[in-house]
């Protein structure tokens, strides 16, 4: 458990709420936070009183993504992760599965939630934030929201792309994948990532209203549809996409940087996160 992920229930309103709260780090997700959110979803899934789940955040941003200071820690914690100086391939695969893409991974848990999921997005919605937008059923974005995964252009794409393509189309998805872009809220809405753009001041209330609207449907109605959705996600090969992402994500740590190429994770290791971010900015946006 961590206070940086708060899980709340309003049984009368039939809504659950998950609040991301690590404002001093732009809501960067630590391993503990990933697990807490994952467990929160598991708990809501089992609670018959809950029909809709809202994800929101304290502070200016939804999330800047995974806490990069913990990248190596993920692998060390996995089986076979500590036996050698460089974590084994099996440790990397199991970590990818456990955290994100496997049966109990965060993204799988959200995508396969038997309840309606609503996201209130604002500020930076990077990496984990992008995937929260793709996995949640309904996405309201503040006019401050910006969506992307800059890390991809530093490293290469190492996550599922099937959901992004299903949402925005192949060539548009590739812009986000390869150019290190951010889409602002309006662009994200136009392309098919966001349902509605709201003034930031009204965001949380609007998201709660939307979640409550969804609770008007019978529990059996929500569950019936959700279970057919799981089947159709499989038909659309999203589950294959997740499996591929876990495999490829594990390869990401095998990447060899050639002379002149910027090794972001080495910078983080040697110079610390802030310095690495500045150096990345200089390298990629001269």
């Amino acid at each position: 458990m961590t206070s940086q992920i708060r899980c709340e229930k309003n049984v009368q309103a039939h809504t659950g709420r998950i609040v991301i709260n690590r404002v001093d780090m732009d809501n960067a997700f630590s391993i503990e936070m990933v697990k807490a959110m994952r467990d929160g979803f598991a708990d809501f899934a089992q609670d018959d009183a809950i029909k809709a789940i809202l994800i929101c955040a304290e502070g200016e941003h939804l999330t800047c993504g995974f806490d990069l200071t913990q990248v190596e820690e993920i692998y060390k914690q996995a089986p076979g992760g500590s036996s050698k100086k460089v974590p084994s391939q099996r440790a990397r695969l199991m970590a990818q599965d456990a955290l994100w893409w496997g049966t109990d991974g965060l993204y799988k848990r959200i995508l396969h939630s038997p309840k309606v999921t609503v996201l209130a997005a604002k500020g930076m919605c990077h990496e984990v934030g992008l995937y929260l937008s793709l996995c949640c059923d309904l996405v309201l974005a503040a006019d401050t929201a910006r969506f992307g995964n800059p890390r991809w252009s530093h490293l290469g794409v190492d996550g599922d792309i099937s959901m992004l393509v299903a949402a925005v189309g192949l060539k548009r998805a590739k812009e986000l994948m390869m150019f290190g872009l951010e889409w602002d809220a309006r662009e994200a809405q136009t392309y098919g990532l966001v349902d509605e753009v709201i003034n930031e001041v009204q965001l949380d209330a609007a998201a709660l209203e939307l979640a409550t609207l969804c609770t008007q449907v019978m529990r059996d109605g929500i569950a019936a549809e959700k279970h057919v959705v799981f089947a159709s996600l499989a038909k659309m090969q999203i589950s294959t996409g997740f499996a591929t992402a876990a495999t490829v994500g594990a390869w990401a740590s095998n990447i060899h940087f050639r002379p002149g190429e910027f090794n972001f994770l080495r910078e983080v290791r040697n110079q610390g996160l802030d310095s690495a971010l500045t150096a990345a900015d200089t390298h990629f946006h001269p």
Binding site: W152, S153, L155, G169, L170, K171, G180, G241, V248
Partner: protein, 251 residues
């Protein structure tokens, strides 16, 4: 006929236009395939831009040329045609599954094979006055699955069945084209986008492309190419019927 230059991590392949491909010229397809494959194989190249020196990236073919082209895929040459255009080692699969980032820079009209090149590339820049005709009326190797993945299902059907070619605005809105710019800026915009993509580490591009290739195959793109051979005879019959109708109308 095909000119290749390299600037840093970006290779530029210049054709006069795609007309020989619309005609199903086998030698030309192999030359372009080789150019793409060889540049993709280089350890210094990360992005490849395909552009045309002529006024149109891919001018529409005349009805007579289309009939001659149909000979390639429905006559004695069909196996060679299949190997050159449809097979995994053929032109379009080398483009759609290219190991490096692939961009098309489109000036003027884009019909037939040019539209298929656009579908197979990762990114497309066009001139604001460019137009895009669907490739489905003339190329049995054109991929409707790739079109649907790019622009959603009904838009792909609209493109195929609708009376008019798309203008650049429609093409951008549908997601077929990434950017439409003034004609004078097409080339530089394509180079800028290529440079942007080339910032990714070489291994990162390999990883990205492996993911993308796996994805395309889960969606049926590979199978769509496999089916091309089955469409040849009916495509040829359709082209002949259209020619007869046009002759009848002008008589």
């Amino acid at each position: 006929m095909i000119h290749v230059t390299e600037t840093g991590a970006v290779a530029t392949i210049t054709l006069r236009d795609c007309e020989p491909l619309s005609r199903h010229d086998i030698d030309f397809a192999m030359q372009l395939r080789d150019a793409v494959r060889d540049t993709a194989d280089s350890n210094t190249i990360k992005a490849i831009v395909i552009c045309a020196s002529g006024p149109d990236f891919s001018p529409p073919s005349s009805p007579t040329d289309l009939l001659k082209a149909a000979e390639m895929f429905s006559g004695a040459m069909r196996h060679k045609w299949h190997a050159a255009y449809c097979a995994p080692s053929g032109l379009y699969q080398n483009l759609a599954y290219c190991k490096k980032v692939l961009l098309t820079a489109v000036q003027g009209r884009c019909a037939g094979a040019g539209s298929m090149l656009v579908l197979c590339s990762d990114f497309t820049v066009c001139a604001s006055r460019s137009s895009f005709e669907s490739p489905f009326a003339t190329l049995p190797e054109s991929s409707l699955v790739l079109a649907a993945l790019t622009m959603r299902l009904n838009r792909a059907k609209s493109w195929m069945l609708g009376p008019q070619a798309w203008n650049s605005e429609q093409a951008v809105q549908a997601g077929l084209v990434n950017r439409a710019v003034d004609a004078a800026l097409v080339s530089s915009q394509a180079q800028t986008m290529a440079q942007l993509a080339a910032r990714m580490p070489l291994d990162g591009i390999a990883m990205t492309k492996l993911l993308a290739e796996a994805f395309l195959d889960t969606q049926g793109v590979g199978q769509d190419f496999d089916m091309a051979g089955f469409y040849c005879d009916s495509m040829a019959a359709a082209l002949h019927a259209r020619r007869s109708q046009q002759r009848g109308a002008s008589a």
